[in-house]
Amino acid sequence: MNTKICFLFISLFVFASCQKVINVNLNNANANLVIEGVLYDGVHDFKVKISKTSSYFGTEPSAMVSNAQVFLVPNGSAPIPVPLFANGEYVLSNFQANTATSYQLNVNVDGKVYSANAYMPPITNLDSLTYELFTGFGGMGSNEKNYLMKAHLNDTVGTENYYRIITTKNDTLLNKAGDHYLFDDKIRDGQKIDAPLFTTFFKDGDTADIQLLSMDADVYDYLTTLNEIISSNANTSAAPANPNSNFDNGALGYFAAYSVSRKSIRIKP
């Protein structure tokens, strides 16, 4: 069913399982272009990062691409150039992005154009945050008090909605592989959704800052396929592949248009 349950089974079984670090010889693939552009609703700096893939075990930073021409094209408007800000980073300052609008990102590198389309959906509001003492699974086997955060929202009926939750705990943005929290309304269309944030537990006195991001199907597909390869234990899931990018012409990475609703809360002892 999924890797976690599978591993639970195995760990229950294994009298003598063990892990060790080994040497694996990996090939060095030809460098491929990686584009990452994230647009938020409202007035923000729109940032695009362009780089190249590097060797897998290498520790040197990725090569950045600074000779690209980057254009953001709001639906029905003229292309807006996104100027180079620093090494491989392109920034369009104080750009006003509107919800219920489609955007296109065009990147021209050495005469080859890579484009991606993203639709910024209307905002779904984060209604409230609640937390409760978590006792399930025997309180996770811990003696300390663990609080489970729940985000409450009302899904729009009749449309497909795709969500992502980003958590900031005590001013630290949780952005590791295991922190991805993605869900859709496939089984809860038009319902009040109470999303339990199992990605992290909170302790007495912690503050939680929660962002609810809405996105289109393609971006969701990118993030879920990305999540599969960064969180899975290599061999137990089906053959891994590169995430389904919304860029054409073989570029890696993605262009997202998020509409955001945000709330914070403090766990009172």
Binding site: V21, Y56, N175, P196, N244
Partner: protein
Amino acid sequence: MLSSIYIHSFNFYKMLKYILQTMFFTFGYSLIANAHNATLSGRIKDARNGEDLIGATIRVVELKDKGTRTNSYGFYSLTLPKGIYTIEFQYLGFEKQSIKLNIDKDLKQDIDLQTIERTIKDVIVKAVKEDKNITRTEMGVIRLDPKSIESVPVLFGEKDIVKTLQLTPGVKAAGEGQSGFYVRGGGVDQNLILLDEAPVYNASHLLGFFSVFNSDALKDVTLYKGDIPAEFGGRASSVLDVKMKDGNSKHYSASGGIGLISSRLTVEGPIVKDKGSFILSGRRTYADLFLKLSNDSLLKQSKLYFYDLNVKANYQISKKDRIYLSGYFGRDVFGLGSNFGFDWGNKTATLRWNHEFNSKLFSNTSLIYSDYSYQIKAGFDDQEFKINSSIRDYNLKQDFSWYLNSNNTIKLGFNLMHHTFRPTVFSGTGLTTRDTLKNRYALEGGVYIQNEQTLTNKLSVKYGVRLSAFDYIGPGKAYTYDDKGNLISSKSYQNGETIKMYLGLEPRLSARYQLNDKSSIKASYNRNLQYLHLLSNSTTSSPTDIWVPSSNNVKPQIVNQVALGYFRNFKDNMFEFSIEGYYKSLGNQIDYKNGADLFLNLNVEAELEYGKGRAFGAEFYLHKQIGKLTGWASYTLSRSLRTFTNINQGKEFSAKQDRIHDIAIVGMYSLSKKIKLSGNWVYNTGSAVTFPSGSYTVDNVKVPYYTERNGYRMPAYHRLDLGVTWIRVKTDKKESSWNISLYNAYGRQNAYSISFQQNKDNPAQTEALQTSLFRWVPSITYNFKF
């Protein structure tokens, strides 16, 4: 729906009638011409317990090349020119019986064969040395007697026929300790697994570490890797035909075993002596009892076990009629704390009626039921949800064995099966879904005829054909998708209305040419169609894998296989040796789009990719069946490759099971009457695997960059297992023994998986981490019988 079943069965009957007529016309002459012949027929049984002996040989001493074998029910029939003959009845491990018979009219002769006391000191004098390896018109077949493999050491001491099959050429384990298997480069889901004719859809327990087959309840195991008889159909790669014991018809007995993680108990006995018997066999694991010792409160409350129950009864209602009822029921139960429950399992039932029309025509009619289901329950606070899914079959099967004359044995019959696919259904408090998945239905059937014919005393052929049909029927909706998998249109169908129908012709041919007393060459061609497909997004077998029918989008899988073999026996049939080469083409193979969502997806057919494949290889096998030392050595050199337009940029890639070299050596040695030693060693090339060839950063996370599918290899796998059996008591009535085994005796750390992670001390550094399971796993089992 009923009317549609009726129409379809009517068509099958029509077809069958036509075939029968043609056959009578063709062979009619020989029937008349042979009026001065007479037929000897009967059943061969084990004298100890009355079990039918399958595949026992009957040979006419005066006519060296004339002979036959018993069928699956111990029945044989042999037509000879009238005369007085010495007839030899023999079966491996049993004393040969010779009887002089005056066959001047049709004669019925039932035979009880006595077992050889194999542990008699020194040499086994009377042991039958069979030459079936070279004389049978079959190839690519592995037969196992569950008794003969009982001392082969296995993981957790749980003897398992599937794991023993994995030690034979052309059969590969799906992974460390797994009971799933690949046959000649095909997929795990391409094996038709039959338990007393009922298909078993998920043949494993506890995520594949155990097979559903409790060896105590089994009589005969045959795996067809190629040259698949025409009576079997429905899977592309192989048929694993498992037959349960009938039960002791002489006296009551009980046997069982107590092991570290499971125990077994079998009770059998006569219903009416020599007329009918029953067997009841159960098994339960209790590994989860150890969880109670854990300090972790979550583990303490967890459950993890399986049980299975085999039952069978048979009764001779008249001299010519016998009925059998057999059933299997097994379930895995998994619970995590009080919040999560998950259980799954198979149920099968078979009702059979054997009828001897006359000494030449034997009939078997079976009604078969098969069901696989799983259920997940979870609850937190006031919320609760449930996930259910199942596949259920009803099957009517009719088979005739027609022993036309001593040179022709004809098998013909048909079957008609109704499938119900219950897709994953999700229900719970406050849940609403935009689309509800509905049950899907299909009819699957086949008509076949096959003749095994002796042309000269050196050349024999087997030729047959199976006409199979698959009818995906309503009520239901058919969906049409564009190339990208977007839904274009859908159409509703009425109850019983055909949504999509497939017909397939599956020829099955083989020939044997005997070079001399010791060697023969054989060749075969067969074509197999598979109408059901297993959707699975994990590489190990998972209880939530779902079976789906062929439809307007999903085409039947087609496999064509040619094979050529050389068979030779040495030292008066003490050693059997064979080399078989095969080439297979695989059509309409299924893979998944990247990130395919197979769960609760109405448009699951849009998540599939279709492609083709090829598999080829050579299998070397040396087998010693008798003597103090028995066992075998097998080596397989093979490849298994796939091509999909949208995977690996359309370039051919290795299937996961593309392990080039595969070696297994199995040895069992009788040190004395009381002590038996056993050991096996395996080696294989690592599975093909996808590793990254670069990396980049997105969303602040290091992301692997993949350039090809299965372009890398896991490290080579090898392992030695050792076992010793100490027989304390062995008499006719009473037996008790201890078995101690050590799995992975030299503690090789075989890679179960390789994952990539950040170095703990230096997060900028990525390292490869290998996980291994099962080093030095000891086990001890006590077996008894009284």
